[in-house]
């Protein structure tokens, strides 16, 4: 039986165009043996959730530096619930003031990686907390949309 890789969707929500961090994370996760799908820039919450479901992601990683996270993160979590995909964990990184972290975690973001975090720590966290294929198999044709 083939050893399944952890599938991670790295997404850039909102208008923010800073992609250095997101791309570095993508490469680091790929080098660590994970399958990485990168959404590219300027995705709406709807597009991100739809991509995560379609790509059968084990984890969603949101990268945002624009300060729009208080609006966008809750929206993404809400959409995941509506689509029956709330079991896909979501982590985030970028420019998120420390004082916003508790509130974002309460909203449903599993972990937030602040500036200065090493890629090793992020890879380590994922390997520790995310199981390959841990969420239920989902048929995009039959699930509510």
């Amino acid at each position: 039986m083939l050893d399944k890789k952890i599938r991670v969707l790295i997404a850039k929500p909102g208008l923010d165009g800073h992609d250095r961090g997101a791309k570095v994370i993508c490469r680091a996760l790929r080098d660590a043996g994970m399958e990485v799908i990168y959404t590219g820039l300027r995705r709406t919450p709807e597009e991100i959730v739809s991509a995560a479901i379609q790509e059968d992601a084990d984890l969603i990683g949101l990268s945002i530096l624009s300060g729009a996270h208080p609006i966008l993160f809750p929206r993404i979590i809400k959409l995941l619930k509506e689509k029956g995909a709330e079991d896909i964990p979501v982590i985030a990184g970028g420019i998120i003031p420390e004082k916003d972290v508790p509130r974002m975690k309460k909203v449903g973001i599993r972990e937030i990686f602040l500036p200065g975090t090493s890629t090793r720590d992020i890879v380590g966290w994922i390997q520790k907390h995310i199981e390959k294929g841990q969420k239920k198999r989902r048929n995009p044709l039959t699930c509510p949309s």
Partner: protein, 569 residues
């Protein structure tokens, strides 16, 4: 001064004659004294710059074979301008202290501008919020959560009027960081000035307007490359005739560097972008000396102090050569590389944020020693938020202390003649020229971007750097060494009330304008775009009719299409 020159030349020859002796003595010293002493030190450090460039333990005249003072350096204000573009440089006039600034509504930012000017800033620099940068209005679905967060919200001329209220546009210069919609914001600025009774012939400032680096690094592109280049050349053409004191482009390396490029990649890609703009301007039929004097540059000032100074000097030298020899420009003003500098944002750390004040001070010093015309110093809190008033005051004071207390601006190009600096300048010049030739061979910068070349180089450099930091091969104080807890610092917060205010104003502008007139200007704009006319006069009509930014951009999107970048990492 023929005798003087002969004396100078013979002195140079004497130094060159000594060079083989010095080389031999250096090798002996290195082998017998330095290497032996180093063994006892057991120092595990790698002596590389932040870009990974190896730095020698010592530089001597032997590192400058065939160095020629007149050919390689010359005097400030004399070709190739290595030491500076003006004879007087900072002795004649200090660099402009121009803090990039903008947040919330136009009222909020107008207040901050007045504060900064009152405290010694000498030029304005506008930071627009993301919706404006992307050419959408504050009521666009993608603008949700973004209004006023990264910069000031500008949806129409009405907002620009408030932004510059009480600021005489005949007395101050303004730089606007705007790219895809640059021509539109420029039209708004011109219209605001006209309302103040100030002629476009008098206003002075800069629009960033550099789309090539958007595809490469900053990513606030909207249209595909070719129509975007066309719009830029429209501004060159219009500016040359109607707004002669305006820099119609700020060819930028800052963002290329922030995206992960090394210092040489920043230097090379930026200059090659400049070359691309000149080529396109000439293809339009413009005379080189008509528009080249109004091309300006924008560089990063990053962590490695000496590498940055060498970079700035090499930039001036390469550009002078390119303009005079490659393009045959005759007006010396066309040969001058005039630049603004911003200290590196990506080098600031969230951990122990007060350390950032020191980082910025050193980076600012490098820019001053590198001969910048204009400078922005970052604020210590920018890893978390836009600058608070207290933090931006420290940033401004940093420049003022450099200018008035440190003494570094007392002489021009003080590091000129340093064996290290001259060797580094020469090294970077050579490497940058290699890259430029490579891109020439690919078919130019637009082609190189289509092939993904600069993007890949930058992505590779960014990844290499992160791995080096993760492995503690590159030390960042407070992050992977000397870590400690720190108290949270006060931050500027942008209330969601800003969005509500802005949406209300937008509704009111749309209600109070003459809709038929506005629609007509938009239809004319679209037709002019289809007919390939210079869009500036049409944009001016649109902005004066209070067409919104989003409406104008939509009209142009209909004609030019939208660019979607290939997703790679």
């Amino acid at each position: 001064m023929r005798t003087g020159r002969r004396k100078e030349k013979s002195k140079v020859r004497k130094i060159q004659q000594k060079a083989p002796e010095i080389k031999k003595a250096y090798e002996g010293w290195k082998r017998n004294k330095y290497a032996k002493a180093l063994e006892a030190c057991a120092s595990p450090r790698a002596f590389t710059t932040v870009s990974g460039r190896k730095i020698k333990e010592l530089y001597t005249p032997a590192d400058l074979p065939r160095f020629d003072f007149f050919r390689d350096l010359n005097f400030p204000g004399e070709y190739p301008f290595t030491r500076g573009i003006h004879p007087t440089m900072h002795r004649g006039r200090l660099w402009t202290m121009r803090q990039f600034s903008g947040f919330g509504t136009a009222e909020d930012t107008n207040k901050r501008y007045k504060y900064l000017l009152a405290h010694g800033q000498t030029g304005l620099s506008v930071a627009f919020h993301l919706p404006t940068l992307m050419g959408v209005d504050s009521d666009h679905p993608l603008a949700k959560g973004e209004v006023g967060k990264c910069g000031v919200a500008i949806d129409s001329l009405a907002d620009m009027e408030v932004l510059f209220s009480g600021l005489p546009l005949d007395k101050i210069t303004t730089s606007m960081t705007i790219n895809a919609p640059a021509a539109i914001l420029w039209a708004m600025y011109i219209a605001v000035a006209e309302k103040q009774g100030v002629s476009p012939k008098v206003i002075s400032g800069t629009i960033q307007n550099d789309i090539l680096k958007e595809y490469i690094a900053q990513k606030t592109f909207v249209f595909p490359p070719r129509p975007s280049m066309k719009l830029i050349v429209d501004t060159f053409e219009y500016g040359a005739k109607e707004v002669p004191r305006w820099n119609t482009i700020s060819i930028s390396g800052y963002h290329i560097r922030e995206a992960g490029a090394t210092a040489v990649q920043e230097l090379a890609f930026t200059l090659r972008d400049g070359i691309e703009y000149v080529i396109w301007g000439l293809e339009r039929g413009l005379e080189i000396d008509e528009f080249a004097p109004r091309l300006s540059y924008f560089f990063n000032s990053h962590n490695d102090f000496f590498e940055e100074i060498a970079k700035f000097r090499a930039a001036r030298k390469i550009w002078a050569e390119v303009m005079r020899d490659r393009f045959g420009a005759r007006n010396p003003r066309s040969w001058w590389l005039r630049f603004h500098t911003q200290t590196s944002g990506v080098s600031l750390m969230a951990q122990q944020p007060y350390n950032n004040v020191i980082r910025v001070a050193l980076q600012a010093l490098a820019a001053v020693l590198g001969g910048t015309q204009s400078l922005h110093t970052n604020s210590l809190d920018e890893t978390f938020a836009l600058p608070s008033e207290d933090a931006v005051t420290i940033a401004l004071r940093t420049q003022q202390i450099l200018a008035h207390e440190s003494g570094v601006a007392n002489t021009i190009d003080p590091l000129g003649g340093s064996y290290f600096i001259e060797a580094l300048t020469r090294e970077m010049e050579g490497e940058a020229k290699s890259y430029i030739r490579k891109i020439d061979d690919m078919g130019g910068m637009v082609r190189a971007i289509e092939l993904g070349f600069p993007q890949k180089e930058i992505g590779d450099s960014a990844y290499w750097y992160q791995k080096a930091v993760d492995a503690k091969e590159k030390i960042i104080v407070g992050v992977n060494a000397f870590e400690m807890e720190h108290e949270p610092i006060p931050l500027l917060e942008i209330d969601e009330a800003v969005a509500r205010q802005q949406l209300a104003r937008l509704r009111s502008v749309k209600k109070s304008r003459e809709l038929t007139a506005a629609k007509r200007t938009l239809a004319d704009l679209k037709k002019a775009a289809r007919d390939d006319q210079n869009l500036m006069p049409h944009l001016l009509k649109c902005v004066k009719a209070y067409a919104t930014l989003g409406e104008m951009m939509n009209a142009l999107k209909d004609v030019y299409g939208e660019y979607e970048e290939p997703v790679t990492f």
